[in-house]
Each structure stands twice: as structure tokens, then as C-alpha cells.
Amino acid sequence: MRSAARYFWIPALALWIALLATGWHQLLRHEFTAGSRSSEADDWPVDTALTRDPAWPTLIFFAHRNCPCTRASLNELEAILSRAGVRPRVWIVLVSPKEGNDDRVGSGIEERARTLPDARLVLDFEGVEARRFGARTSGHVYLYGRAGELAFSGGITDARGHEGPSLGRRAVLRRLQDETRERTVLPVYGCPIYLGDEDEQTRER
């Protein structure tokens, strides 16, 4: 009886562990899979409607208007801004893939973005500005120096929707504190701003 139970429960335990490992792997893979990106411009795009103050570094934060994962990136941005030695001019560009406000689902991103101090919020319908800067994944951060040179490009979380100390936070802070002059490029974790080629075709139509 006791051994019979063992023959039942040990396989059950093994199965349980396997099931959990699989599920956990899927979750982690999703979280740690970086979004697609295009090549970054080395300098401030000339056709952008966004303005830059040459007296200060400029930080541009692109986010999908409905992406819940971006909440963690906004939290990290707030942490960075609160700790930065030099406060950059901040643009938060909320990309709405469609024209108009009918796609807004109330993810709370916009409300959260409005709470950031000294950040200017821009609604980017159909991702015009995102294309100008080359941003394809929600949570993509660009930091430009006073001279308009690109100092940082990438995400400020180490996983999708996962806040906490990250390489991106560290890199942005070092740049703002003038600890390095090197450009840092990191992967971005978040929802795709576009749905790949199909999305592009839709836009072209």
C-alpha cells in the first residue's frame, strides 16, 4: 500500500515539476525576449516635431499607448529621473498605431505618464515620430546629449514588464552624471509598437 502510493505520487510529483518547469520556461522566455528594433540615427532627427534644448540632454521615451508592460518602464524612468545628477528634457511619446482615440483601452499608461515630473507628453498617432527615431518596441528610450548626439538607445528594464535595477537604468544614470561619454545600446523589452510588415502595409495603404 505504501509502495503503491509511492508509485503513484512520485510520478505525479515528477509530472508536476515538469509541468511547472515548462510553464515557467514559457513565462520567462516571454519576459526575456527582446523586441525588434531598427537602426538608430546617430544624431537628432531633423524631421522630428519634437524639440531639443541644447542646454540640456534630451530623453525621449516611446511607448505603446496600451502596452501594460510599459508600466514597469515608466516606473524605472521615474526612478532614473529622481536619481539623475542632470535632469534631461523628457519627451514621452505615446504611440497610437491608429488615428484617433478609439483604440485606447485604458491600460493606465497615459495616466501614469502624466504623473512624471517635467515630462512632456506627446500622442503619436500612427507612430510617425517613432519611425523618425526608429523605435519599434514599447519602452524604447533615447538619450541625446546637449549637442544632439545619441548617448543611449534601448530599454530601461531587463525583462518585459519587470522593474528593478537594470543595465539600462545604470547606463542612463551614468550618462546623465557624465560618468561616461560612450553610447550605450541595449535591447528593449515590451510590446511591439507595430505588427511587423503587415502593420507597415496597413499604414502604407
Binding site: 502510493a5 505520487w9 505525479a12 510529483l13 508536476w16 509541468l19 511547472l20 510553464g23 515557467w24 514559457q26 513565462l27 520567462l28 516571454h30 519576459e31 526575456f32 505603446h64 496600451n66 502596452c67 501594460p68 508592460c69 508600466r71 514597469a72 516606473n75 498605431p97 491608429k98 483604440d103 483601452v105 491600460s107 514599447s138 531587463d158 525583462a159 514588464g161 519587470h162 522593474e163 528593478g164 535595477p165 537594470s166 543595465l167 545604470r170 510590446c191 511591439p192 509598437i193 507595430y194 505588427l195 511587423g196 502593420d199 496597413t202
Partner: protein
């Protein structure tokens, strides 16, 4: 025994240890099962929270304009379900099992990790890990904490290497960061594990104590059972004993009833024998006396003297036997009345003075000055003891002296009591030492020759000793053969005050009156015994009385209807109607008429209570057979006077209310003294009456006796026979604690006192405010009333030489002419009583 005890103890210890282990396991399993259930519910709650959280925070994920269910929602639903699946199954099917605990612990930690992911890795959510460990400590199983903490450590270690940034947010310090994170977990684990082990130790202690308690309880229960069994056995034994006792008790009860029946038979036998022996003895003694009073030849006189002597001796023997029988049967009661000790001593000496003189002996009595003169006790029985001892002294002494002395004895007396030591010394033959104890035994004398030489029944000292013991004393003898003997005895008496003592002497000690002048009476003799009839008739007629004979109570009632009698002599046991019944009828017939014929019981009944029964039945006196003629004359004389006066007139004086002449004589003819006495009586008698009432209401016989005696002693000075008779009956009722007829007698006493007061009131007024009126020769009742009715203090009968008595100082009471003619007779009767 000790080996067995040791084995028992060892076995008990092992059993206790096993039981403690079982209790421990049982307790632990209880904790495990309860905690399993707790975590089952907790995991379910967390799962729902995870679902809600995911749905709230990240319901959808987006790709451009396309959205789909966020993987967090899927993870919360599916992965969460997977996490809690196995624990729930195990909790349901293997609650309390070690595997269940381990899986629950792992699931709880995984659920924490899932929540951390769902909240985007919020720092605060990491506290879930520590909370979970604290909750897992509920199991009090450190292995669960170890495995759960190990999971955290392995997760950090593995992911730290594979995706370091997923754990630490940084790729820097991967080698040591897992250790830092795990360190915090281990830090709390240390305390939780210590707490768990402490808890387990306490549980073990509790289990051991409970096991010891159960062992002790079991031991006590075994002991109780053993004791209960022993008690049950003893109870059975006691029940058996009880049954035996009940049987014995029933036997004893039967024996007691039989003994009581025998005792009653003995008492009845005694009564019958007393009656049967005394009746013929009455005739023998009486007839012999009568015969001796006739002219006889010397031989005849000698023979009759011998008969009288023998009869007297036989009567003495019978009295001794009856006394002894009564004492042995506990039917002899001592009187408690005031008396004069000197009188008793003198009387004793007087009895033996002739015999002592005849034998040439000196007979002396000495009373120490500190011995009280007046005592309360039984003078008759004291006299009996002294007569016995003095009589023995004279009997066994041929020369020398017999002396009696009385001294106060030390100690032993209560408040108001005195212990006296009496000694009777003789110079007689003495008693050998080896015989000194036997002489106090009944029917034993010093030796057989004593009986032959000196006679006697051998009961005298036995009776004396019993009487002394009843008086609270002891009787002993000191004797030297040939030199004489000294008998000592002690007795306890109550002290009597001088006044009551003197009063009592007036009442209870008849004064010798050899030259009595008897008035001729009409006597009704109710007697069924012909011999006794003849004897009584001869005695009475010899004194000049007229005798009417009735053979029983019925005839007596018939005779009373035809004639008036001065006194009735009533036997008790008669055919058809006995004396008590006849008396009841007579008293019933008299009720409301104002008449009261004195009835004197005359019977051979001599047992305890006879006299009391007679008095309670309404009789006025009691004479036992053989008849003491002196006593009979005294009683007849006193009682019949009252009746004579009652039948002759209805005036106060003629109904025996007052004998003014006697009163004046007692006062030496001094009117002032008489008036003072009257005044004193009028002032004092209400308090005596109150004392009688209080004693009756409290049903205190001794107080009733004392109060009635006091009143009687005062009233007798006035010749107030009705008062005296009623008070005497109350006194006797008090002595016997018989209260049945007391109320009626009290009413009679009250009426008599009222009448006396009415008569005395004028006489008791101060002399300066009244005019005395004494009329002689007597007035008729009408005249007397007429005098009273014509006005206060107005002399009306100029033909009589009289003194005038003014009635009242306030003029409220009518004057009364006090007739003194008949009072002379009353006075004589009273003087015979000792006034």
C-alpha cells in the same frame, strides 16, 4: 514485592514513553493536517488573487493595433493552476503526509514567484517569500522550510547563471548575489527553524506530561477501582452486619418489650400485693388497737400486744420490701419541699428516745452552727435514713451511746445548694472489715447470727444507701468490732430562705395535739371491704362521728343525693364504680353550686402516683392503709370544717373564707398586729398569684410548688381554708408536674382570694380611717348582708358586743360584719396544723 513494584514502574515508564510518542505524533499530525488545509485554502486564494491581479494589471498585450491575452493572465491561470494542483490533491488524499507538506511548501514558494512576476517584479512582492516561510513554520517541520528555502536558492543560482538580469536586475556580481539573496532567506530560516524545533520540544514536553497525567489518572482509577471493590466488599460485610444487627435489635426489642411487660406485671403485682397485704393488715392493726382499748385480761392484753407488735413488725417489713421494690423499679420519687432540719433530727430522736432510755443508752444529736436550718428536699426520706441508722445503732448497742451529728461538707454543691454530712455513731458490737461491704446489699446482714439475734430483713441499709444515692450522696461505714460503728452519709439539699422555711413548717409538719376536741361530723364511708368498713366505723364512731356506709361509688352518689356530709372517706378500688370515677361525678355535680364536699382517699394503694392521681381527680386528701388514725383525724378535722361551714351558710365567714378569731389569737389578741398582717397579706398575695400564673404558663412545677406553698403559708394564718386547700392542690400539682387541672384550681384559688380580699379589705385599712366591727354571737347571713348594705362603717346591730371596722379609706367598699362564732372552730383546726 519490591521487584514487582520495580517491574511495574519500569513497564509503566515504557508505556508512558510510548504513549507520549503516540500523543506527540497525534498532535503533530493534527498540526500537519490543519496547516495542510490552511495552505490549500491559501493557495486557492493566492491563485484567485493572481488571476485578478493579472487581469487588472496586464489583461492584454499588444502588437501594434492587434492585442491578445497577456501572457501574465495565461500564466496566472494555467501556471497558477498547475502550481496548486498537486498540493490540493495531496491535501485531499494524503493530509498530514510529509510529501504533502513538502509539495505545499514548494507550491507556496512558486506561487510567490508567480505573484512577483505578475506584479512586474515589485520589490514589495518579494516579501511574499518571507511571509510564506513564516507561514510554513506553522508546520513546525524544519524540513519544509529547508526544502522551500532550497528552492529559492536553486532558482536564484540557476537563473542567476542563465538569466542573471532576471534575478538581480544586473549582470554584475552574479557569483555572490545569489548568496546574498539566499542569505536573507537563510537568516529568517534560522529563526524559523529554531522556533520550529522549540515548538516541537514543547509539544514533546506537553505530550510527555499528558502521558504521565494519563498514566497517573489510570493508576488512580485503578486504585479507585480497587478501593471501590474493597469498599463494596466492606459494604456487603456491613450490610450483613446491619442485617444481623437488625435481627439482634428486633430480638432485643422483643426482649425489651417482654421485660417492660414483665416490669409492668411486676408493678401491677406490687400494687396488687400492696393492696392485698395492706387491706388485711389494716384490719389486723386497727382491730388490735380497738381491742387493746377495751377491758382485757392480762393474758388477753399480752396476746394482743404480741399481735400488735408482730403486725407492726410485719407492716415495717412490708414497707421495707415495697420501698426497696419501688427503688429498684425506679418508681420512687423524692419530694422537693422546704423543711426544718432541726425538726427532722428532733423527730428522729423523739422516736427512739424511749428505746434508748429503755436500754440505758445515751442518745444525742448535734448540729453544727453553720448547717442551715431550712432546706429544700425530702424530709420524710431523710428521716427514714436517720431512723434506720439510729435504729440500727440502738439495736446493736447494749451500752454506751448513740449519737447523730450533721456537718456541712466541702465541695460538690451547686449554686444555692448545700452538701451535708450526717454521721451516726454507736458504741455497739461493730462490724468486721470483711462484712462491711456486704451489709449494704439487700437481704444481707453481717452474719446469720445477727438475723437470729437482732432480727430484721436486711433491707434497711440497702434502702438507706439507695435513698442517699438519690439525694446525690454516699453512704459508708467505719467500724471496729467490739468498739462500735460510725455510719456516714452525705446528701445534697437546696437552701431554703427562712420565710418559706417557716411557712413550710406551718404547712407540712403537723403539730402534736393530743388533747384534740373533735366536732361531730357526718361522714360518708365509701368502702367495699366489710372488715375495713367495720374498722373505720368503729374508729369514726368512737370519735363521735356519724357514719354512713356506701359499698361503692354508685351508692355514694345516691347517698349524697339524699343527705349532706361533712366529709367523704373514699376507697379507690371498688366494684361497679371506683373511687376516682365517683369523685369525678361528685365534683361534676357540685360545679356551679358553690359546694365542695371534702373527699379523702383511703386506700391500700401505696405506689408512686397514687396520691397525685387522687388529688388530680378532685380529692382533697389521701390516707394510705393501714390507716394512720392521727393523720386521718387531722385531715378530717381540717377538711370537714370547711364543708360544715359551706353547708351551714353562704356568708363569707361561713364558707371558710376567714377565721378572724384565729387570726386575732395568732396575733396575741393585738388588733394592731392583726391589721398589719392583713395589710401585709393584701399587699403581697397578688404577687404570689402572679408567680403561680407564671409558673403555670411556663409549666415549671418547682416554681408552681414554691409559689403555691408560699401563698398557702400566708393564707393559713387567716383560716382561709378555701385558699389553703386550692393552694395546697396547686402545690401538689407542681410537685408532680401535673398541670392538667391546674387552670381550674387556679380559678378556684382566685375566686377564694377575691372573697378573702373583700372580707379583709376593711380590716386591712389603716386603723385611724376605719371603725372595726366584730359581732359575737354570730349574725345570720341576712343580717350580715344587711349590715353591709346599710352603709359604710355604720354599726347596725346594737344587740351585739362588737368592734367596728371602717370599710375603706376611699368609701368605695361596703362594710362587712365579720362573724366570729364559727371561726373558733376553724382556729382550732388551724392550730392543729401548727399555727
Amino acid at each position: 514485592m519490591s521487584v514487582t513494584r520495580y517491574e511495574t514502574d519500569s513497564s509503566e515508564r515504557a508505556s508512558t514513553a510510548l504513549r507520549a510518542e503516540a500523543l506527540m505524533r497525534e498532535h503533530q499530525r493534527g498540526i500537519y493536517v490543519r496547516t495542510d488545509r490552511l495552505f490549500a485554502w491559501l493557495l486557492l486564494v493566492q491563485w484567485f488573487v493572481a488571476l485578478g491581479l493579472a487581469q487588472w494589471l496586464s489583461p492584454l498585450e499588444w502588437a501594434g493595433v492587434v492585442s491578445r491575452t497577456h501572457i501574465h493572465v495565461l500564466a496566472a491561470g494555467l501556471l497558477g493552476a498547475a502550481i496548486l494542483s498537486l498540493p490540493l490533491v495531496l491535501v485531499c488524499f494524503r493530509p498530514g503526509a510529509s510529501l504533502t507538506r513538502q509539495v505545499v511548501g514548494l507550491a507556496q514558494m512558486l506561487m510567490g514567484a508567480l505573484l512577483i512576476h505578475l506584479t512586474g517584479g515589485r520589490l514589495e512582492t518579494h516579501f511574499h517569500v518571507f511571509g510564506s516561510l513564516a507561514l510554513l513554520a506553522f508546520y513546525r517541520d524544519s524540513r519544509v522550510l529547508v526544502s522551500s528555502s532550497a528552492l529559492v536558492a536553486v532558482d536564484h543560482l540557476v537563473r542567476g547563471y542563465v538569466w542573471p538580469q532576471s534575478v538581480y536586475g544586473s549582470v554584475v556580481g552574479v557569483e555572490w548575489r545569489w548568496l546574498e539573496h539566499s542569505g536573507w532567506v537563510i537568516f529568517i530560516d534560522v529563526f524559523l527553524i529554531w522556533s520550529c524545533r522549540k515548538g516541537v520540544a514543547e509539544m514533546r514536553t506537553i505530550a510527555e506530561r499528558q502521558a504521565e497525567l494519563e498514566t497517573t489518572t489510570a493508576r488512580i482509577e485503578r486504585t479507585v477501582e480497587d478501593r471501590t471493590a474493597e469498599l463494596r466488599e466492606q459494604s456487603h460485610h456491613l450490610e450483613a452486619l446491619t442485617r444481623q444487627l437488625e435481627v439482634s435489635e428486633a430480638d432485643m426489642r422483643r426482649a425489651k418489650e417482654s421485660a417492660e411487660s414483665a416490669n409492668r406485671s411486676k408493678g401491677q403485682f406490687l400494687a396488687n400485693m400492696s393492696h392485698e397485704i395492706r387491706t388485711p393488715m389494716n384490719a389486723i392493726v386497727g382491730m388490735t388497737r380497738l381491742a387493746l382499748e377495751t377491758e382485757l385480761t392480762p393474758d388477753q392484753r399480752e396476746y394482743l400486744d404480741a399481735v400488735k407488735t408482730s403486725a407492726d413488725a410485719l407492716l415495717g417489713i412490708i414497707n421495707d420490701i415495697l420501698d426497696f421494690s419501688k427503688i429498684e423499679a425506679g418508681k420512687l420519687d423524692l419530694e422537693t419541699i422546704p423543711f426544718s432540719l432541726s425538726e427532722v433530727l428532733d423527730n428522729t430522736v423523739r422516736v427512739f428516745s424511749w428505746r434508748a432510755q429503755e436500754k440505758g443508752l445515751q442518745l444525742t444529736v448535734r448540729r453544727a452552727p453553720e448547717v442551715p436550718e431550712y432546706l429544700v428536699g425530702d424530709p420524710g426520706r431523710l428521716r427514714q435514713i436517720l431512723i434506720n441508722l439510729v435504729g440500727n445503732g440502738i439495736k446493736f448497742t447494749d451500752r454506751g451511746e448513740v449519737s447523730a451529728s450533721v456537718l456541712p461538707s466541702r465541695g460538690g454543691a451547686g449554686e444555692g445548694e448545700v452538701v451535708l454530712c450526717f454521721s451516726v455513731r454507736d458504741t455497739g458490737i461493730g462490724i468486721p472489715a470483711d462484712k462491711q461491704s456486704s451489709i449494704f446489699r439487700a437481704f444481707e446482714q453481717a452474719d446469720g447470727s445477727t438475723t437470729r439475734k437482732y432480727g430484721g430483713t436486711g433491707l434497711g441499709l440497702a434502702i438507706a444507701q439507695r435513698l442517699v444515692e438519690m439525694m446525690g450522696g454516699q453512704l459508708w461505714v467505719e467500724s471496729q468490732p467490739g468498739q462500735g460503728s460510725t455510719f456516714h452519709f452525705t446528701a445534697v439539699f437546696a437552701r431554703a430562705d427562712a420565710v418559706s422555711g417557716r411557712d413550710s413548717l406551718r404547712g407540712v409538719v403537723p403539730c402534736a395535739a393530743p388533747s384534740r376536741r373533735l366536732k361531730v361530723r357526718n361522714v360518708l364511708l365509701v368502702e367495699d371491704n366489710v372488715l375495713n368498713q367495720k374498722l373505720a366505723i368503729r374508729l369514726l364512731e368512737k370519735k363521735g362521728h356519724h357514719v354512713t356506709v356506701a359499698n361503692n361509688g354508685k351508692q355514694a352518689l345516691a347517698a349524697l343525693e339524699r343527705n349532706a356530709f361533712d366529709v367523704i372517706l373514699m376507697d379507690l378500688q371498688m366494684p361497679e364504680m371506683g373511687g376516682l370515677e365517683a369523685t369525678a361525678h361528685i365534683r361534676a355535680n357540685e360545679r356551679g353550686t358553690g359546694r365542695h364536699v371534702p373527699i379523702v382517699a383511703m386506700t391500700a394503694h401505696a405506689l408512686r402516683g397514687d396520691e397525685q392521681r387522687c388529688l388530680e381527680a378532685g380529692m382533697d386528701g389521701y390516707v394510705s392503709k393501714p390507716i394512720d388514725s392521727e393523720r386521718l383525724w387531722t385531715i378530717i378535722d381540717a377538711l370537714s370544717l370547711e364543708n360544715t361551714l359551706q353547708t351551714a351558710s353562704t356568708t363569707p365567714i361561713e364558707t371558710g373564707i376567714l377565721d378572724e378569731e384565729a387570726l386575732l389569737e395568732r396575733c396575741g389578741g393585738d388588733v394592731e398586729t392583726k391589721l398589719e398582717i392583713v395589710q401585709l397579706f393584701l399587699e403581697e398575695y397578688p404577687s404570689s398569684l402572679d408567680a403561680i400564673r407564671q409558673a403555670m404558663s411556663a409549666r415549671r412545677g418547682d416554681e408552681l410548688m414554691a409559689a403555691a406553698h408560699h401563698l398557702k403559708g400566708s393564707a393559713v394564718n387567716f383560716g382561709a381554708r378555701r385558699v389553703v386547700a386550692a393552694a395546697q392542690r396547686l402545690e401538689q400539682m407542681g410537685a408532680g408536674n401535673h398541670f392538667a387541672a391546674a387552670a381550674e384550681t387556679l380559678e378556684e384559688l382566685h375566686e377564694a382570694l377575691e372573697e378573702l380580699r373583700e372580707v379583709l379589705a376593711p380590716a386591712g385599712s389603716p386603723p385611724r380611717n376605719r371603725t372595726a366591727l366584730l359581732i359575737d354571737p354570730p349574725l345570720s347571713p341576712a343580717q350580715a348582708r344587711g349590715v353591709g348594705g346599710e352603709g359604710m362603717g355604720t354599726p347596725t346591730n346594737e344587740n351585739q358586743s362588737h368592734k367596728m371596722t371602717e370599710t375603706s379609706t376611699h368609701g368605695e367598699e361596703a362594710g362587712v360584719c365579720v362573724r366570729c362564732g364559727a371561726s373558733k372552730t376553724i382556729g382550732r383546726g388551724l392550730r392543729r396544723w401548727g399555727f
